[in-house]
Assembly symmetry: C2
Homo-oligomer: 466 residues x 2
Amino acid sequence: MTEATNQARGGAFGIEHPIGVAVLGMGNVGTEVVRILREHADDLRSRVGAPVVLRGVAVRRLDVDRGIPAELLTTDAEALVARDDVDLVVEVMGGIDPARKLILSALNGGKSVVTANKALLADYTGELAAAAEGSRADLYFEAAVAGAIPVVRPLIQSMSGDRVNRVVGIVNGTTNFILSAMDETGADYTDTLAEATRLGYAEADPTADVEGYDAAAKAAILASLAFHTRVTAADVYREGISKITAEDLETAAAVGCTVKLLAICERMPGGERLSMDGSAVAAPGEAGSTPAGKDRVSVRVYPALIPRRHPLSSVNGAFNAVVVEAENAGRLMFYGQGAGGAPTASAVMGDLVMAARNKFYGGRAPGESVYAELPIAPIGDIPTRYHVNLQVADRTGVLQAVSGKFAEHGVSISTVRQEGHDEGARLVVVTHHAPESALADTVAALAELESVTSVTSVLRLEGTEE
Amino acid sequence: MTEATNQARGGAFGIEHPIGVAVLGMGNVGTEVVRILREHADDLRSRVGAPVVLRGVAVRRLDVDRGIPAELLTTDAEALVARDDVDLVVEVMGGIDPARKLILSALNGGKSVVTANKALLADYTGELAAAAEGSRADLYFEAAVAGAIPVVRPLIQSMSGDRVNRVVGIVNGTTNFILSAMDETGADYTDTLAEATRLGYAEADPTADVEGYDAAAKAAILASLAFHTRVTAADVYREGISKITAEDLETAAAVGCTVKLLAICERMPGGERLSMDGSAVAAPGEAGSTPAGKDRVSVRVYPALIPRRHPLSSVNGAFNAVVVEAENAGRLMFYGQGAGGAPTASAVMGDLVMAARNKFYGGRAPGESVYAELPIAPIGDIPTRYHVNLQVADRTGVLQAVSGKFAEHGVSISTVRQEGHDEGARLVVVTHHAPESALADTVAALAELESVTSVTSVLRLEGTEE
């Protein structure tokens, strides 16, 4: 039957019917996609089996010289998508609307779609996948997570015979650039953000990046693929990096750690709880444990301390990395450029060649797999370790009072470090794993203590062997 | 038409026709594949869309208790492959024969094949791919390179819209275990190999690993995929690690390096020459340069010094890592467990699920892509850097004589270090990039020098910025 398709397209008769491509959006990524389509037409033709022809590019304004023939440009994206000679649509315009409507039009018309739109996917994958399924078109989105780094395809395909237990990634280049720079220079957050903006690593409105929305969308996508469960952005617990201080990085360094914005997707096996490194932290029936027999999923984004010997700690600047831990594969790590026009276009083009081959040979991309339908565990249930920084009165009994509050809430202390200061002392407490809710309650109780001047910072600690 | 296949199989009527699987070989990997097929049958059914049923396992001897029902075992692999209810064949027996014949039988019968057999693929991919093409079956082989690490699929699919310039990997766990241990303990090669054998990291006959044959087979596979060119094991220049001494690791450490067995696949653009880090080392028309306009491919396996700051230098023990450099994606790195029953079985199972889905939904794996047909560059043409260790007479003029020989052959010296000894001195010379042939001639000429007592070692230096 693949032969029939091939023949219908003329392949078997030596007539090459071209695969027509529409590109929606001509920002950094779209510009590179258009360039590659034009510069590497010969290679693409050989790899697809048929010519891949750019039919048009939808842009917002026509009065800009984009270095390509004017007749390829249009402001009518809907008409471009609907053209009979368009077989494939590349959506690199971003945002929810009109991207969503255009992708649905394409898929409903049987046209395959390649998109880099993480915000859209994080909330609407179900709807888009259903449209693709209905018309037997492909929906590919490797470029939506971690730019050029193949992680979507490995999760969907390579891990399809394994059980993924955990995905932990640095998936936002802007925040990683800022945290790396703060770690290196000792500068504070505001100055470093300003520098990142100046260098083009942060957008004019950096909210989506620095508050973790971008990473949360990617975490939702990764978790959906890893656990065969539909996870949306609303399911992701999220904290950004805008409250991270130079002092946080300094105290992190003092304990052999750095601070990274992590996207963490974890399977929490029914009846026991796992820490990031796989050690069980609560037995069935214990406080905060999962009902026996039913796995749950935790998806969260927050800045955390990680030891400098952890593989993710050396991922610096605008680079991304994703660690995947699976039952049989063990720990895998994928590293590379997570953003930028050319790297993201590389991922788009890989998807485009696959989608074009499917059009030509009659194959299909794997559809959405959400059969497991695992429930999302609330953040309060998640076992983590806390690194708590306290300003305290420098007098006898403080340590006893502080450690008493931890004990009261059932939180076990790993280490305490006391540093003298002119006006009081600083206590740095690192806990063992405990449920988030118990840790949050402990911190609230500490703030009430008379001998505690202030809770300077509370950061989670990840990636330790406990 | 996928619908038609689906209907033919009963999918559209809610009747699930199972996908029958035959496993050939029940060593470390086969045992794990059989375990996963049985333990995770429910997940596999959900992911494929139909039950995946183990029809039988071909073994050499029946008188061993393998913990599975005896009726599943057979010594007649050919009959198992030929069974009507077998749709998919997993070949994990290794070796050329009878694996080759069995795989060909399966493919010719329209049955898809998943194999981990690098030695077979390195020499016979053309023949196997043609058989798969002829009957429109799938040939998958993610497990043949770097165990659980997805690198075959990313190269075939994710990089299909990019231009790969270089693949450099640590792809043999045995040799990496030995070199890591030598680096850490200062022990010599023989003792470390004995220890590796005792711990199960080296086979009783370690030749295939320590002499680089295994890595060369994997390099041939990687190069074929990266450059869309058929590369066989015979095209790979190969040196093993059996001549590496404790002193080599010591001198490497002295210059901030370690020693790794590298598999290097490089595109050498027509008209210029690139070093491992992408710097051009010879202009068109210069000695050893490529004819203008025609890219060539260099594939080689040898132990080399790499700087400790290079990402591959921290890949230790039995771990594998592969760095892929592409025009648009930039530098990507894939890291994980490169061998072992469960990790390799993870890769096999991913391929198996994809092949089973294709059977059920009517898709097809991408076939062999060798359209580029780039010529293989001979090793003598390859620009590398040498790290040469000489025992010399401790007298005036030695340095002049030695450096004269380098100059005579057009090899530029980067650094020279002289160390006094009781009976003469040691000279360590590190060169800039020069063609292998010029370096080899230089070393031969040095050995003839009266003031040179011996050429203690010659190692290549890779991964520097020059």
